[in-house]
């Protein structure tokens, strides 16, 4: 008997509708690409409606459904089903619904829906557009699988399928060798990280015997199990929960492009731009951060006192802060409009990880949700720009697009300011603000806070650099840029409006979304005095100053730059190092790929000499043995045979001579025989006598 079947139905709708669209459109030919697109959009629309309904449920009192009252403890539903049943052990597939699921599911569904609609315009002329929509559907279905999962097994399954879809979509234009290589790189880097995740799952199963997150007190995120995990030592002073959390974080870091595993993300720009929008906003990279947020109790297990932090959380903090700053630095040295956005994504993911690491998973989730919306807007904007400039992606070859693409410019500007965190008016400000607040109060160190603050300054700087170079000044384009069709502009407008509206729900005076996610929305009150809170003011003023400083300095430098790069002469070799992405890729290629290839050559040589050699040797031995036998046969066996045969022949001849048929000789033999017989009888008689 399933409890709350209507909630289960709605929850399953999130992945199953896109999955159904995938399964149906898989069989359609390219000629029917419009049907594929319709199926994809329809499936996603249904999923979005279901997500909205689920989101509605956790509003208290729930107007749509008569469910039990939602207190902080009870507003979590889960359904566990058996997938693999062995004699003595079983592996479940399980689904989880709580406000975090609902909010994340809604964001993923909405952003995906808008990206799908945008693709209708962007991919209209592509010869494989039908397949494109097919893959997109599977992509969001897999991502929703991660979102609604209540078992690490289902998370891993969906997680790998997300990886598969990103592989297929990054390599969608596979005729380009660069795209094929980028897809492979993305899959391999994330799969390397996934091995950490996989081992974490194996260890969890070995240690606890379950992979369920929540299971009526027996799940791995519930107190009993966490106490058990955190009181067992894995090795050294590292507890079991710490070790498993670190392994799982490796997987999350790979998916979410944390330093130094970020290398796949900029290359992933080889895919069509709507794919980039999905990967960067809603589906792929969000999965890593979401997983760490979801498993926060595991990461936080065994925290001794509130002024301390666990090992995995410290690692998350430092990795996040480093990534935030590192990627922001690299973004300054890029000219490709999408690559700049790619590095900005990496940097923002670093912010999110930082938030989770310093113990504020909800702040991280808020930034993830807001970022999903405005990053999708930015990528669609970039897509619109590229579409308008006939495929040009270098911002040095754009310029003046403000006049030729006014709508795109306006919408892109909203995205830029949201990402840069323009104070008060744009949502990036509020979500980043709560991250700064949490990082500032981290007991162990202030360095991550300072790193993140500097990264925030750089964020404003590189976004305005990009915006000013591409949109202002005079046109340097060889083509004639044109505005995009409404089917592309309208989804962007939706996203822009969403990011502006979201602003209202994030202020400290009325932190509606935060209270919603923390399941205490019933105690929400409008409280304007929160603005005057000195704790809030101290971080808010600093970050506002940094952001404005970044914006103004970038405007001063780039508004009159006319496509040249003033920093390259100013910073010299440092800037060229940034342009070359600090040679991280080269490092990996040299150290890992080359050594793996060298090792495999070595092994292959050993294989052919030793192991295949042994077969040849055995075959040779057998042949030599056969030759020896042949020799023996010829010269010994045959020789004897010949001798015997010869003897027999002679004997036969003599015998034949005897039995020649002559009566006289026969009688002679008969007489001799009789004589012998008589002699024998006589002899016997004599002896007896």
């Amino acid at each position: 008997m399933v409890n709350y079947p209507h909630l289960l139905f709605l929850t399953l709708t999130l992945p199953l509708c896109p999955l159904l669209a995938f399964a149906l459109s898989l069989w359609l030919p390219q000629k029917a690409w419009r049907i594929s697109a319709t199926l994809a959009i329809l499936g996603q629309l249904l999923a979005t409606i279901a997500a909205a309904a689920l989101f509605w449920i956790f509003l208290s009192p729930s107007p749509l459904f008569t469910s039990p009252p939602h207190t902080s403890e009870t507003s979590r539903y889960y359904w566990n089903f058996v997938w693999l049943q062995l004699e003595s052990i079983q592996f479940p597939i399980a689904f989880l619904l709580d406000p975090i699921t609902a909010a994340m599911g809604l964001m993923v569904a909405t952003v995906s829906l808008l990206v799908f609609i945008f693709s209708l315009g962007y991919m209209a002329d592509d010869p494989n557009s039908g397949k494109f929509f097919t893959y997109l559907s599977l992509f969001t279905a897999a991502m929703q699988g991660v979102v609604i999962s209540n078992s690490l097994l289902l998370t891993f399954i969906s997680w790998e399928l997300v990886g598969l879809c990103s592989y297929l979509l990054i390599g969608f234009w596979h005729q380009k060798p660069a795209a094929a290589a980028a897809a492979k790189k993305a899959f391999l880097v994330t799969r390397f990280a996934d091995i950490g995740f996989f081992l974490g799952i194996l260890w969890m199963q070995a240690a606890t015997g379950t992979l369920l997150l929540y299971n009526n007190g027996h799940g791995i995120l519930e107190t009993d199990m966490l106490n058990g995990l955190s009181s067992t030592l894995a090795f050294g002073t590292i507890t079991l929960s710490n070790a498993i959390a670190l392994l799982i974080f490796l997987g999350a870091a790979g998916k979410s492009g944390q330093f130094p595993l970020h290398i796949w993300l900029p290359d992933a720009m080889e895919g069509p731009t709507p794919v980039s929008a999905l990967i960067h906003a809603a589906t792929m990279v969000a999965a890593g951060v979401y997983l760490v947020i979801r498993l926060f109790p595991l990461f936080n297990a065994a925290q001794i006192s509130p002024t301390d932090s666990t090992l995995p959380l410290s690692v998350v903090t430092w990795v996040g802060a480093t990534t935030a700053l590192f990627a922001a630095l690299l973004a300054i040295g890029q000219y490709d409009i999408k690559r700049i956005l790619a590095y900005s994504t990496i940097s923002q993911l670093g912010f999110m990880m930082l938030a989770v690491g310093v113990g504020a998973p909800i702040a991280g989730l808020l930034h993830l949700l807001a970022h999903g919306i405005f990053k999708a807007l930015l990528f669609l904007g970039a897509g619109s720009v590229i579409h308008g400039c006939n495929g040009e992606q270098d911002i040095r070859l754009m310029g003046g697009l403000r006049k030729s693409m006014p709508l795109t410019f306006l919408l892109y500007l909203i995205g830029t300011l949201s990402l840069a965190g323009f104070p008060i008016l744009f949502c990036g400000f509020w979500t980043k603000e709560s991250i700064f607040h949490a990082a500032h109060s981290w007991p162990l160190s202030q360095v991550p806070y300072l790193l993140a603050s500097f990264a925030a300054f750089l964020t404003a700087f590189y976004m305005i650099r990009q915006n000013a170079t591409a949109f202002s000044g005079t046109s340097r384009s060889l083509h004639h840029p044109h505005e995009s069709p409404p089917v592309m502009i309208i989804p962007m407008a939706f996203l822009a409006a969403l990011s502006l509206i979201l602003n209202l729900f994030l202020t400290p005076a009325w932190p509606w979304l935060e209270f919603y996610l923390e399941r205490k929305i019933s105690s929400l009150h409008f409280n304007p005095s929160a603005f005057a809170n000195p704790e809030f003011l101290s971080t808010a003023i600093l970050s506002s100053c940094l952001t404005l400083g970044g914006i103004i300095s970038a405007l001063l430098i780039y508004l009159r730059a006319r496509g040249k790069e003033p920093l390259s002469s100013f910073l010299g070799p440092i800037y060229s190092a940034l342009e070359n992405r600090l040679w991280v890729d080269e490092f990996f290629r040299l150290v890992l790929v080359k050594s793996a290839q060298a090792l495999s050559c070595l092994f292959a040589a050993a294989d052919s000499f030793i192991f295949q050699g042994s077969v040849v040797a055995i075959a040779k031995l057998a042949t030599i043995f056969a030759k020896i036998v042949d020799f023996i046969d010829q010269f010994f066996v045959n020789l004897w045979f010949d001798v015997i045969c010869g003897g027999m022949k002679d004997w036969g001849t003599s015998l034949a001579r005897i039995s020649g048929g002559r009566a006289s000789s026969q009688l002679r033999f008969l007489a001799a025989g009789l004589a012998a017989l008589l002699a024998w009888l006589l002899f016997v008689l004599v002896v007896q006598a």
């Binding site: 997938w83 693999l84 049943q85 062995l86 004699e87 003595s88 052990i89 592996f91 097994l153 891993f156 399954i157 790998e160 399928l161 598969l164 592989y167 390599g171 596979h174 005729q175 060798p177 094929a180 290589a181 897809a183 492979k184 899959f187 391999l188 799969r191 390397f192 091995i195 996989f198 081992l199 194996l202 260890w203 199963q205 070995a206 015997g209 793996a596 290839q597 090792l599 495999s600 050559c601 092994f603 292959a604 294989d607 052919s608 030793i610 192991f611 295949q612 050699g613 042994s614 077969v615 040849v616 055995i618 075959a619 057998a622």
Partner: protein, 493 residues
Amino acid sequence: MIPFLFSLILVPFLSALGTATVRNITLARTISLVGGFTTLALALRLCAPPPACLDTRGLAYSVFLPWLPQIGIEFSLGIDSLNRLFALLSPFVTLLALLALNPSSSRWLAANLLWLESALLGNFCAQNFGTWFLFYELSLAPAFFLIRSPGDPNASRAALRFFLYTQAGGIAILAGYLAIGLSCGTFSFPELAHTQISETLNQKFAIPWLSNLIFWLVLGGLMIKIPAIPLHGWLPETYSRAPAVAIMILTGVMSKMGLYGILRLLSPVFPRELSQWAGILLWLAVAGAVFAAFVAITQSDLRRAFGYLSINHLAYCLMGIFSFHLLPPGTSDKTADLLYSGVLLLAFNHGISAATLFAILNALEERTAGKHSITDFGGLRSLAPVLSGLGFISIFASLGLPGLNGFPGEFLLFVGVFHVSWPAATLASLALLLGAFFLLNVIQRVFWGPIGKNLQNFPEIRPHELLWAVPAAAAIVVLGIWPQAILNLLRWP
């Protein structure tokens, strides 16, 4: 009425005879296909729950004929939980191979496929060593003829090497088992499982290390058959020379003969020796998995590369078997359950996905006059999307992607191995990454990228190819989503 298992072995054998003797090519092909279908249809009876009346040894459908009763050799067949899956796998893979066979190819090939199927089925169903060995030897002849495609001196040499090497293994097994059977007075597997072989052997011959020697002889012989590193040397040459259709059976079913042999011939008989050596053997298997994955990366010949990938997957199965014997007695049977199910599930699914890989390779070779180097192709995704889609499915199944049939077995197996030895599982997971590296290289250079030279007239999948492609793809997808279908078959009353 002919007993069920008799007919299961006889139908492919008789259709092999028919295929080989009939003059008319169309008729020969019809006979071979009807034979393959009938065998599979018969074998599907094994999916049903076993009959209520099992014999005293717990076997279903058992057949028993005295042969050399003086020394305990008998002709004995029977199904239990261990061989049920394998007896189901061989007809399926053989049928795929028969369907993948080019209609214009010689009937000799089809006849040998069926003959081999018959021998393999006999080997899997045997319940007495005499019967087992009879079919083991019987399988060598058709395998030899399959590999030795006429007119290619290299293939003849490869076939001879294969034969001699495998025969050496066969003799080792025979020698070992003669000592066992003669000292115990029986060659029947169910009876041997209840005797204390090691003690009997060592006492009877008064040589303390004799049981170890015999254990290693039999193990070595079986490892050649799988093949497992370091005794895999026959594989590269054989795989690069034999017709791709023949390799479908070699890798899909014949390799399972070795695995099954370890489970049948060694596990019940030598528990003490196995647990004594399992630590070393486990690491040997791990090293083999990593080694094979590394070697696969450098191979430019796709057949050899997929061969090494096969070695890699079979090494995972061996890891599971040896971990099973590393379990200290009295531990919870959960881990044993995981390992046992994982090994059989992975072996079964590997049979399907590896055979599909070679079927696709066969299709590629037919279209390019026998080319099978990774550099001979490129951009097939643009030329033949359906064929490439099939390639993607089987490649990702081999890679262990969740949702396809490679994953469930691998997952269960790794959970079990991790229970027993986490360093072994960790190192082996490196092989998972290397395998992915190799397989993605194949996709990048064969299916993606610019269209290769001389490939402009590369035909898309043909209707008759759908005959094997659809069942193979369906099995890969369905068993990936619903592995319980196979897990249920592992249950035995």
